[in-house]
């Protein structure tokens, strides 16, 4: 019986035309190394936090026990140990250079099934800011190749799904608060998360300069277990700002983590700096988006 069943399955498999396997081994190696690096960074950060905590405790206790004559920076005559620099400067608040803050608090669902309850969207900026980097990314184009139309959340949802690297997406919704933006639940090979992308155009002076060749991209990652994991903001010379916020709450147990997008901020930066984002977008994107997502639900603010 076993052989018969196996033969039937083999026949069926032989009739299949599988796509080429691709470089799954190389991709697994790259992802694995990236996750390991992230874990090491977290471990170092956690160790530093523990050291800071212990020192703070010593200061409090020591302050109560030592004489008032003790010099600043000394605990009962013993010099305070230096705090290792791990990229997080105590007391310094890190904020994105350009803000397009999300409105309201944790998202309240109005559309059925959205968003998955384990992945809330945080209000504005996460509580524990982490590491900030700024990149300059060339657009490769000076002016749009196509006729432009007013951007819509549906067009944004369509372009976002085209740009997200190998992630399954669902639960598309319009962001609350009247901003031009879209929110998408993603689940890639590493973990789940909510991605919110908003576009705004501020005052760039008169006359308004051309879109320009170079976007200034600011990446802020946050060392949190659940909540805002990363914000990426791309600023263009014409005043256009594209902002991506990624929120994630990996399930407990460690079987899954943050989405791969968080582990690869450069990929997120490239998405934010794609020159097709704007308050106007290519007509084809707007048209296809309208067909794909004719009725995007809204989220209560």
């Amino acid at each position: 019986m076993t052989e018969d069943l196996r033969a039937l399955l083999r026949d069926d498999l032989n009739a299949e035309r599988p796509p080429p396997l691709g470089d799954v081994v190389g991709a697994a190696l790259r992802d694995g190394k990236r996750i390991r690096r992230g874990r090491r960074r977290l471990a170092v950060g956690g160790g530093a936090a523990a050291v800071v905590g212990v020192l703070a405790g010593v200061v409090v206790v020591g302050g109560a026990l030592t004489s008032p004559a003790a010099a600043p920076g000394e605990l009962g005559g013993v010099a305070a140990a230096p705090v290792p620099d791990v990229g997080v400067v105590p007391g310094r608040r890190v904020t994105p250079t350009v803000t397009a803050p999300m409105q309201g608090g944790a998202a309240k669902v109005t559309a059925p099934g959205f968003p998955p309850p384990s992945v809330p969207i945080s209000p504005t900026v996460a509580a524990s800011p982490g590491h900030t980097r700024t990149l300059a990314i060339p657009s490769g184009t000076l002016r749009p190749a196509e006729k432009q139309k007013e951007a819509t959340p549906a067009a944004m949802a369509y372009l976002l799904t085209q740009l997200l690297p190998s992630a399954q997406t669902s639960s598309y919704a319009v962001v609350p608060g009247g901003e031009l933006g879209v929110r998408v639940f993603i689940d890639d090979k590493l973990g789940p998360g909510n991605v919110q992308l908003t576009v705004a155009r501020g005052d760039a002076g008169t006359p308004r300069p051309a879109r320009g060749e170079m976007a200034k991209v600011t990446i802020v990652t946050y060392a949190v277990e659940c909540g805002r994991a990363m914000s990426v903001t791309a600023e263009w010379p014409d005043g256009t700002t594209v902002r991506i916020d990624v929120d994630s709450c990996p399930p407990p147990g460690g079987s899954r983590g943050l989405p791969a997008l968080v582990a690869d901020p450069e990929a997120a930066a490239r998405i934010a700096a794609d020159p097709r984002w704007g308050v106007t977008m290519d007509a084809s994107l707007v048209d296809i988006g309208g067909q794909r997502y004719p009725r995007l639900p809204g989220l209560a603010g």
Binding site: T2, R6, L8, D12, L13, V24, S170, L190
Partner: protein, 163 residues
């Protein structure tokens, strides 16, 4: 040979087989590829522990199956299974003949995994129980039930093969 080289050698040798197993589970080559990559990434992260396993391929299959079951659990609240949708059409037209893969698609995820491990990967009942982390008795009873369901679904000439 470094640990990375050892991992790459093992993964290259077994990636195709893992993808085939994943495909039998999910019936989607692209998802199968994603599941394979996920499983290999997890294997890489636990490589030092994994190489101590008696059967490294079985260990990897276990990771793959769990990745698949996790994926299904996350999706189950919003998706209906193709099997449930396909069955009425099949019932109405007896001329339609289901393939074995189609028939497997009618089984619940865990039962499908049991059949694939038992009858395609040739695992023992105990090994299946270990991979799926269920009692041996559950594997036996689910296997009986799954085979009975497959017999119901498959055409008479196919039934003769494992009657």
């Amino acid at each position: 040979m470094s640990a990375d080289d050892e991992f790459a050698e093992f993964a290259t040798a077994h990636a195709e087989r893992l993808r085939t197993t994943a495909f039998m589970l999910c019936r989607d080559w692209h998802l199968a590829q994603d599941l394979t990559q996920t499983a290999l990434t997890k294997l890489y992260l636990s490589w030092r522990k994994a190489v101590q396993a008696d059967n490294l391929l079985a260990y990897t299959q276990k990771i793959l199956l769990r990745s698949y079951l996790d994926h299904r659990r996350r999706r189950s609240s919003t998706e209906s299974t193709p099997g449930v949708l396909a069955e009425p059409a099949y019932r109405e037209n007896p001329e339609l003949r289901l393939t074995m893969l189609d028939a497997l698609g009618h089984l619940p995820e865990r039962d499908r995994a049991i059949v694939i491990l038992r009858y395609f990967e040739d695992y023992s009942v105990e090994q299946v129980a270990d991979v799926l982390e269920v009692p041996v008795g559950v594997v036996k009873s689910q296997t009986r039930r799954s085979l009975s369901k497959l017999r119901e679904l498959l055409a008479a000439d196919q039934l003769a093969l494992f009657g």
